[in-house]
Subunit: 247 residues, 2 copies
DNA sequence: ACGCTCCAGGTTGTCGGACAACTAGCGCGG
DNA sequence: CCGCGCTAGTTGTCCGACAACCTGGAGCGT
């Protein structure tokens, strides 16, 4: 089960790898669609569908009658709209990930968590709080909440630097997308203590609600990042091409 | 010239409008592809291509053998990956936009600007600095830099609350995408003065480089947002569907 | 020698039809 | 009542064809 996705997803994946690995450099012209399709023994339709996905993501740009070209796009250190989870965040930097101060318990859902998870106020939810480290240095304080009937504290605890997404997926809850809200802030007494910094230290807080494709919210998380630990980047699509003009 | 885009882009645009207007609510099942295609007198191929774009953007989710469904996606106040420019940011909140402290001049490019715009260090570039207001309250201090041969200070000055993107597009420089970096920070003396807040006030800084589809960088901007003015959101695509698994 | 037009090849865009793979719900039989 | 299989409906993939468009060069006239 190397990949149970549909064909065009696999093809898109391969093209993305080619671009990221540098085999297809920015500005390069891709082989023609029939050629790409023939090389891989797939139909042009599937190849076109894959390229359409890449185009929508901004990796390539098509020019009618001319060809398809790789977009100039810098290597993003931390693409907010793509990367998921602190684990992959650390992994992408090459640092050694670790975990400290892990607590997993049943707690009363804070109001904003209850609302996001669509459970009654005051209901008990599973909470996982961790301090994540890179090369031993503490740099982010995370708290995850999910419904107790989705994932019990026993199932969730002791996962170390594993991803909560994997634990959820094992229960059939595949996260499809999430909405993150980004705000700057200063460390309160507790967070400062956990991160080992002075109170009032500069933080970047990311609040996120993750849901399945059906729109069922399954995970709420709040991450306090040290300001100088990472810088986050986002690719923004221009007004001309993207879904704008209206509203 | 309502839209000179390719057919599938128009179709995708129409579907997006249907979803945003609420005619297609989250969870709804779309009509089948042949049906949608027949209604609009287009081929199923084009309709499929349009839906593929929507799928990649996360608006809909396809299920083989079942149908295509509208994703449960909340209305985003400020979608970082879509919205462009402070103007549209204010407009989306319903507040009255305004501009103060506008300065437009030729300056020596700061190192990071020179590098991003690919001009020699020490070259002169056009700089536009503005304090943007909403309902009269100052809330963001922006500086834009672009190549002097792309847009002269005369062309750029006196645009009030207009968008720099429009001015660039009028010169044939259509911004295709941009890369934004987000960092928290504290206001230095000058920024604090311009924004009318105490020195050290909490800020969210967005550094951005905008480029054309050919990868030519045309605009560099730095925006200092007051922390309590806006909260920014990003839609993140899940690990299961998105381009992950490798790296 | 220079510039212009025209043309031919290559590439993407759209079309139509066909079949495979899969889902979900219904009805039948146990 | 439960479970099984069947069937209609839907998405996934394939094939072939033609239109629209871009690019570069050949050929012509000046």
């Amino acid at each position: 089960m190397t990949s149970s996705q549909s064909l065009r997803h696999q093809l898109a994946q391969e093209l993305r790898s080619l671009i990221r690995s540098g085999k297809l450099a920015p500005g390069d012209k891709l082989p023609s669609e029939p050629e790409l399709a023939h090389e891989r023994a797939v139909s042009r339709s599937s190849m076109r569908a894959a390229i359409t996905m890449l185009e929508e993501e901004g990796f390539v740009s098509r020019r009618h009658g001319s060809g398809t070209y790789v977009t100039h796009r810098p290597a993003l250190p931390n693409d907010l709209s793509r990367n998921f989870g602190v684990s992959s965040l650390i992994a992408s930097t090459g640092l050694e990930p670790g975990t400290a101060e892990e607590t997993c318990e049943l707690v009363l859902a804070p109001p904003f968590v209850a609302e996001a998870l669509e459970v009654p106020e005051g209901a008990e939810v599973t909470s996982l709080r961790r301090v994540r480290t890179a090369d031993g240095r503490r740099f982010v304080d995370t708290t995850d909440w999910c419904r107790a009937d989705h994932l019990s504290p026993e199932k969730l605890s002791g996962m170390g630097d594993g991803s909560v997404y994997a634990a959820l997926a094992a229960r059939g809850l595949v996260v499809h997308h999430g909405v993150a809200t980004i705000t700057p802030g200063n460390a309160d007494a507790e967070t400062a203590l956990r991160l080992g910094v002075a109170r009032g230290a500069l933080l970047l807080t990311i609040d996120q609600v993750d849901m399945t494709a059906e729109g069922v919210p399954v995970l709420v998380s709040r991450e306090h990042h040290l300001a100088d630990a990472f810088s986050f980047t986002v690719v923004r699509h221009g007004p001309g091409v993207g879904p704008e003009v209206d509203r």
